[in-house]
Point group: C2
Chain length 148, copies 2
DNA sequence: TATTGTTATACTCTATAACTATA
DNA sequence: TATAGTTATAGAGTATAACAATA
């Protein structure tokens, strides 16, 4: 007798496990979840202003200052002057930062493959579709509830 | 062409959305994620020592002191003397705390039902089984990686 | 001697508000 | 006047280490 609550509980459990697994990997490299999230964003967007990062991470500009301070100190990123706007700075990945993100992509790929290694193609297709449906429902809930 | 990485990304996205939704509900009541987690644990275990809660939440005893201070101040829980061990205290839910947990169960049930409201019985069964399989795989990964 | 909870101290993430330098 | 980033200040979550009371 499966029901929605079971699904919800499982999703919560999975979320927790993924978080734990990721912090276990990042800790040694001197990275935290928040800092990694910032680097990840820079990795995908390319050199970005702190304002852009604040918007992308849905976090205050002040917070970004702190995170950039930390990853700069750790050698993962660098502040560079914006070529045309002298008020702004561009956050860029260093070689070390680029390497860290590449490692992360690789390790995430391994985990991802392992998660569904039992599934045949049809099953994976169905499961993916179901996850997409649940995600869409969640987005609906979020949009309904916070009309701002 | 679905693959494991898509699944992984979706799971991350779902985790994020659920977190956001939950904090949106808890904020108004004066509760945070960490405090709610503690109350949730007390709700399920019954009156518990802080040591037991620290173990259950996988958090330091010192941390539990702070969280209990906060939920006690907020009127959600109470410290009571342990009947046989005078070193220990039992954390118990107040009426307000019990009500808050009941509300949470109800609201979580609504969300959960909505998430899979499109699914017919067979689909829900399959989806649940797939989620269980993924969860089992994640547990494997966690156990492998942290031999401690 | 071991355990329970607390005080002391410190680090990270987060926020708002005020300020500086530029647009 | 508005925007980019910083300083100032504050609160929450987390940790370790030292300590008191009790087992």
């Amino acid at each position: 007798m499966p029901d929605g609550v079971h699904v919800f509980d499982r999703l919560l459990e999975i979320a927790l496990l993924i978080q734990q697994d990721m912090s276990r990997e990042l800790g040694p490299a001197g990275l935290t979840a928040a800092r990694t999230h910032l680097l990840w964003e820079v990795h995908h967007r390319g050199p970005s202003t702190q304002q852009a990062l604040a918007a992308a991470l849905q976090v205050s500009p002040r917070n970004v200052t702190g995170l950039v301070d930390a990853v700069e100190k750790g050698g993962f990123a660098r502040r560079e002057p914006h070529p045309t706007d002298r008020r702004a700075t561009l956050v860029t990945l260093t070689e070390q930062g680029t390497r860290a993100m590449a490692d992360m992509v690789a390790s995430r790929g391994q985990i991802a493959a392992h998660l569904v290694s039992d599934f045949d193609t049809a099953q994976l297709q169905r499961f993916t579709a179901d996850l997409d449906a649940v995600t869409a429902r969640l987005h609906e809930l979020m949009d309904d509830g916070s009309p701002t």
